[in-house]
Assembly symmetry: C2
Homo-oligomer: 153 residues x 2
Amino acid sequence: MRVSAKADYAVRAAAELAAAQAEEAPVKGERLAEAQDIPLQFLEHILLELKHHGIVRARRGAKGGYWLARPADEVTVAEIVRAVEGPIAHVQSTPPEDIEYRGNAEHLQAVWIAVRASLRSVLEEVTLADLVSGELPTVVGELTSAKDAWVAR
Amino acid sequence: MRVSAKADYAVRAAAELAAAQAEEAPVKGERLAEAQDIPLQFLEHILLELKHHGIVRARRGAKGGYWLARPADEVTVAEIVRAVEGPIAHVQSTPPEDIEYRGNAEHLQAVWIAVRASLRSVLEEVTLADLVSGELPTVVGELTSAKDAWVAR
DNA sequence: GCACTCCTGACCAAGAAGGTCAGGAAAGTC
DNA sequence: GACTTTCCTGACCTTCTTGGTCAGGAGTGC
């Protein structure tokens, strides 16, 4: 139930790429690493994964670098998280819809399904364009406006 | 972004305890393990953690066993998950409210806060009593009624 | 005193997390 | 064609987590 460094890095790097999309030129890994303070070699592995998932493209050599494969408003945070962390909200490494509970835990399946749905309701809605512009979807606004959303429990 | 076996086991065992609350007698670990098909020795460690967090109580010896420290409708799934997995939705092991993002990732903090809030909106609402009775809070009903909540992505 | 049951710490194998290192392979420049 | 640049890839590393098992100790009840 936690967000890995990899996922965090991936989204941040992708946000930089989204912001650079106007430039019409590839962005070097080094620049991404510096802009977001991410270990370069680690970031390269992450970018490679994003590339394999069709989220990012790249070219080598001088004038090379990375860019988004699609417009920033068509790439969601959920996609990026899935690319580097795998499926969201799996239980014991199996998807909640495939689990069968016995006895008094029978309705637990519905709870895990709801958990996944609630995660999706945020992650699938926020695009890289939203993230860069700061104009986040209303669902985020609603969730973050409650005071106790910002405090630990 | 996944639910560990430990958390799953913990909630299931707690659900059994909730159902047994009417009996007015402690439930043996062995019975919990069998009812939910959980490795006994592993379960004992989990129950110990729940005990340390004040969720469960226990007595040793003949006629010993475990029981809930509070009424089932006062114990939430969130509490149990926190007891065995630690804080919900931490990013790189730090709470989202403490993270400062730079550059184009500035608004990512709000997204992670929203993620945590959305998880809480489910986990803090569902009590063990809800789980056992099957009368889940409306928020769960809403989230699980969408068809695509039950399919993988 | 004995059986029963929880309590606790040690241990363990496998995998993930969070990286680093070294070299190879395209792409552009001179 | 040589050289530089930058991505690409696999190997490796250390530490922590996951998902357990094992062995024994300590209360509790009869």
